[in-house]
């Protein structure tokens, strides 16, 4: 049956993959709807200092693209929003999007910044990985897009006050701050604003929900997070970054001293069966090399050590790059695992062994950097459930074919890009963003689509009306109806049906059938197996 294709695309995730896909499609004249969970787009790339192996400034190459997204007439940007539910099929998706309340009317707000400079409530900054603080009304970082604040309702004093009075608790009420409201020149603060659900229609969906880094508290041998000077690679990125908490000066968290001896430990939450992370996170070897180089450039007196299992430097100019880290910048690569770290005065004693010379090694370090691995962002599995796409044990999404259909899923019209499929570096994510965009463009190039939605249907002539199917349908997608000749029969509600085919196996009458997996098709497969 031919179906109209809705020419709009939904892109889930505003990281570099999502941004690329969005711009490619928008430039191609398609309307794009970009949904990002955080208050700003940019994703992890925005947190990075430099990028390997070319060492150009991450923010500098990303920022213009972010601005393009914000200004592109064909792109609707929805930050601080999440996909709540999805119905329909290729060409005709209907998606409920939850817009979390910002308590700030962005149509009025000019982004002058007064509010987030004056807000008295200080909260650890997520963007800077809690190495400094932000205010309760905030933009995550100076180059954020959109450059308009949201109020963190958890921490805002006035919000706390309201919750307190609603709860009607005893004791002294918190102050009714409302400073931002008083100071806002545009009167953009809107306490009434609530979460809202927006329902939009799309022809295709690109999922680029990216990754998060492994939580190293699982590694008690590395202090399980109790040593302030054992940090993650991402934290080091922020310390190296000119826009970071230390303005680009590498100061160790505990006492703000300049670290002279820095130890990198690779494969933290990668290639580690015990921790349930047997896969390689792919980018760590390279970013450690990069960070060692950057540290040396910041301060020639720094000595870096790198405990590694293997050096994975497959990629254009990659191996040369990690070689430079060793040969030019004198990083000492030690093949072996670190067995434990303990504090001794101001030093961190790193005990490991050099498996090449088979001798234990002990290094008194000022700073230890854990190359924490990559895992899918929280909620990836739930999202996959909603989208009817499959995902593996670690919640990475599964592509339709690992070789030949790397950005497609088993569900038509839903495409993938970036590290939500598996660990990737920036160029790969960008490539996939473009690839997904190309797939969508190809889909839209035909104006009507002649694929069937994979939903069930019930032949009214055959249905005997036992109504068993209405009882088993997990989605309550089967209603009853009275025929002209007075029989009560079941009918499929196509918008609710998700195509599991339970009704087909339940139906003795042979009335129920499932497009894409019809009785005819499956029987034909059975009978042709040994022809």
């Amino acid at each position: 049956i031919p179906v109209e294709i809705n020419p709009n695309t939904l892109i889930v995730g505003g990281g570099i993959a999502g941004i690329t896909a969005a711009l490619e499609l928008a430039d191609g004249g398609n309307h794009v709807y970009l949904v990002e969970r955080q208050p700003s787009i940019g994703g992890h790339m925005a947190q990075l200092d430099k990028t390997f192996p070319t060492l150009d400034c991450s923010a500098c190459i990303l920022a213009p693209k972010m601005v393009d997204v914000a200004q592109h007439p064909k792109i609707t940007l929805r930050t601080y929003a999440e996909v709540q539910d999805i119905r329909g099929f290729v060409g005709n998706f209907e998606v409920d999007i939850l817009q979390k309340t910002r308590k700030v009317d962005h149509t009025k707000c000019t982004g002058c910044g007064t509010c987030w400079q004056k807000c008295p409530e200080k909260v650890p900054s997520e963007f800077n990985l809690e190495m400094d603080s932000r205010t309760a009304i905030y933009v995550p970082f100076p180059q954020a897009v959109p450059l308009k604040p949201v109020i963190d309702t958890e921490n805002c004093r006035y919000m706390k006050y309201l919750q307190f009075t609603e709860a009607g608790e005893e004791g002294k009420a918190p102050p009714q701050c409302r400073v931002c409201e008083k100071l806002c020149p545009a009167a953009a603060i809107d306490w009434e604003q609530q979460d809202e659900i927006l329902t939009e229609k799309f022809g295709a969906i690109v999922v680029a929900t990216g990754f998060q880094t492994f939580d190293h508290s699982a590694y008690s041998e590395y202090g399980g997070g109790m040593y302030p000077d054992v940090i993650t690679g991402l934290q080091l990125e922020r310390l190296l970054s000119a826009s970071g908490p230390t303005g680009g000066e590498v100061l160790r968290p505990s006492d703000g001293a300049h670290p002279k001896t820095v130890v990198f430990i690779s494969c933290v939450g990668s290639r580690d069966e015990q921790k349930g992370r047997p896969y390689c996170s792919k980018v760590c070897c390279m970013y450690m090399a990069k960070q060692a180089i950057m540290l040396k450039e910041h301060d020639p007196n720094v000595q870096c050590y790198n405990f590694y299992i293997d050096i994975r430097a497959g990629g254009k100019d990659f191996d040369e790059f990690s070689r430079r880290a060793q040969e030019e910048f004198g990083t000492l690569y030690i093949r072996g695992r670190v067995s434990k770290i303990f504090e001794e005065g101001k030093k961190l004693i790193v005990c490991g062994d050099d498996s090449l010379i088979g001798r234990p090694v002990e290094i008194a370090a000022d700073l230890v950097v854990l190359a924490t691995g990559i895992e899918p962002s929280t909620g990836a599995a739930q999202l996959a459930q909603k989208l009817n796409i499959s995902y593996n044990a670690y919640n990475f999404f599964i592509e339709a074919h690992p070789k030949l259909r790397p950005v497609e899923t088993n569900t038509d019209g839903i495409l993938l890009a970036g590290s939500c499929i598996g660990p990737k570096d920036i160029p790969e994510s960008v490539a996939q963003g473009s690839a997904a965009a190309a797939k969508v463009a190809a889909l839209f190039s035909q104006d009507v689509l002649t694929t069937d939605p994979l939903v069930a249907n019930i032949d009214p002539i055959k249905c005997g009306g036992c109504l068993l199917c209405t009882k088993v349908c997990p989605f309550k997608a089967i209603d009853t109806q009275v025929t002209r000749d007075g029989r009560t029969i079941s009918v499929i509600n196509e918008t609710l049906c998700k195509g599991c085919g339970l009704c087909v196996a339940t139906c003795r009458f042979g009335a129920a059938n499932l497009r894409g997996f019809t009785q005819q098709q499956l029987l034909a497969q059975v009978t042709s197996l040994w022809r």
Binding site: Q385, N388, S390, Y391, N392, A393, Y394, I398, P402, N410, L454, V472, P474, F475, K498, G499, C500, G501, L502, V504, A505, T506, L514, G516, F517, Q519, L522, L523, Q525, V526, T527, L529, W530
Partner: protein
Amino acid sequence: MAVEYQPKIVGFLCNWCSYAGADLAGTSRICYPSNIRIIRVPCSGRVDPLLIVKSFQQGADGVLIAGCHPGDCHYSEGNYYARRRLALLHTFLEYIGIEEERFQIQWVSASEGKRWANVVSSFTEGLSILGPRETTLHKETV
């Protein structure tokens, strides 16, 4: 020399778990017997008993249904219904003389490529030991 007996197996695999699992087994180069012919279904709950009975009539030595572990159904409940239907069919087929080893229901998730390989291997092995089905069904009546 005599060719050793290769049992014919039909596998109905849930698209969301077992099929992905088998895929994983393939892509991660885990070896398992090639006797199985895979039919992809959206859910183990989609498998109509007719298809299984038909498979045996068409000469299958074994039929394997693989779906998501109970609780993990992509459609939340499909495999619970499947479990009931298929468990009953299993005892019934055994009753009409199709040895229980010839019909298996297994839960294999998308990540269990290894498990998938093991399931197929042991199933195939079991069938090889059992030998071909003794049946007159492909003869005609008077």
